[in-house]
């Protein structure tokens, strides 16, 4: 078993992208060193390990960096194989589906407009967000998880955003469960997994963080 400093995670506590990696590492039972990074003051290690994007998270394994959260999750799945089902399905078609939906999350899930804007713009942002969740609900259908019976890659890509819902509901004056009950059922199901509940920050802390962000924006 690799010693914990063979695996290092550079992360920012509120980053949903970093949480994807934390969940994946927990699913595989990998021990690692966690290094908290400050956005405003990036460490020389971060700049060395991710010179192209200078972004978090970065996983460092045997001194080699792996960047981009979904890519890191795939790396974790391919490197540490356990008795549990892999995070990505073995069937090529289901694997493609998992990749498609993780990609969808990366490209479409962005609800910061809900706290950055007001009035009509905010209403538009709220509607877009709910429409997005409805697309995801349709993909879920009657399945327990996004791709099938097992919690996996696509669920990991999406679930970290759920701890921002409390902030979105307060600031946007919304009730997500009322609009998308199936989606919230899926959230609760994922939260029953220790890897998820231990990796995601307290939604109240995220709400305070969003308030700080809003103050900085002058909102």
């Amino acid at each position: 078993m690799a010693s914990s400093n063979d695996v290092v995670l550079l992360n920012f506590w509120a980053s949903p992208f970093g949480e994807r990696v934390e969940i994946a590492l927990a699913e595989k039972g990998v021990h690692y060193d966690y290094k908290e990074e400050d956005w405003a003051d990036k460490s020389s290690l971060l700049l060395q390990m991710n010179p192209v994007h200078k972004k978090l998270p970065v996983l460092i394994h045997h001194g080699k960096p792996i960047c981009e959260s979904n890519i890191i999750v795939q790396y974790i799945d391919e490197t540490w194989q356990t008795e549990d089902p892999p995070l990505l399905p073995s069937d090529p078609y289901l694997k493609a589906q998992a990749r498609f939906w993780a990609d969808f999350v990366d490209n479409k899930v962005n609800f910061s407009a809900i706290w950055r804007t007001k009035g009509e713009e905010q209403e538009r942002a709220k509607k877009e967000f709910i429409d997005l969740l409805k697309v995801l609900e349709e993909q879920l259908g009657e399945k327990p998880y996004l791709i099938g019976e097992s919690f996996g890659y696509a669920d990991i890509a999406l679930i970290p955003f759920s701890c921002w819902f409390y902030a979105v509901e307060i600031i946007g004056k919304m009730n997500i469960e009322k609009e998308c009950p199936k989606f919230i059922e899926w959230v609760k199901r994922c939260m029953e997994r220790e890897s998820v509940s231990k990796s995601l920050p307290d939604p109240h802390k995220i709400y305070e963080y969003v308030l700080e962000l809003m103050k900085k924006l002058g909102n």
Partner: protein, 230 residues
Amino acid sequence: MGEVKLFRTWSSPFALRVVWALKLKGVEYETIYEDLANKSSSLLEYNPVHKKVPVLLHNGIPICESLVILEYIDETWNEGVRFLPKDPLARATARFWAKFNDEQVFPSFFRYFMRQGEDQEKAKEKVLENLKFVEEHLKGKKFFDGEVFGFLDLVFGWLVCYPGVINKAINLKLLDEQMFPNLCTWMEQFGDVPVIKETWPDEEALIHKFHKMREGLGIYIYTKLRYEAS
């Protein structure tokens, strides 16, 4: 291995990478050309989320997003040539650079092509900055993945054709040998691979298309100037 269809446009570099993948694997397939101004009901049925091409249809089941399709082809027709390396770190590196191409290099190149004046100069700086990272990544290698071409070469392959044709169309040069010796050498080598050489869209048709795309821009600029004058 079942019936394969590819929904694509004739000119898209994202479609081409899928064409190359299918041909390199020796997969027989049918091509359905789409007109994006008038999307077929099949396309809307097979890609309801994004309504985009390319879409691969395998035994009636759709796979969307070109990078997802490439990995699907590699895993499904898995005897013989493999595009992605076996080692997890090498795979993660290949995926990282593929994402960099699709999210940074290609869009910045497109912006450079579609702008004018000072905006175009700024866009040029960005695309050159992106290409410098790619140039560095190619250092000491014949192809992106080493001695043999693979996944990343398919992803970056558009560089072999499109910048050159755009230069012919509107005299907009980008890659020069002094600044990008590794990229230029790679372009020659990858461009020489028979499957790549034989599948480029018709150059005249591409030049005509690029002119039309820029003309569309010209109309906007004229309107803006006219409004400002009054």
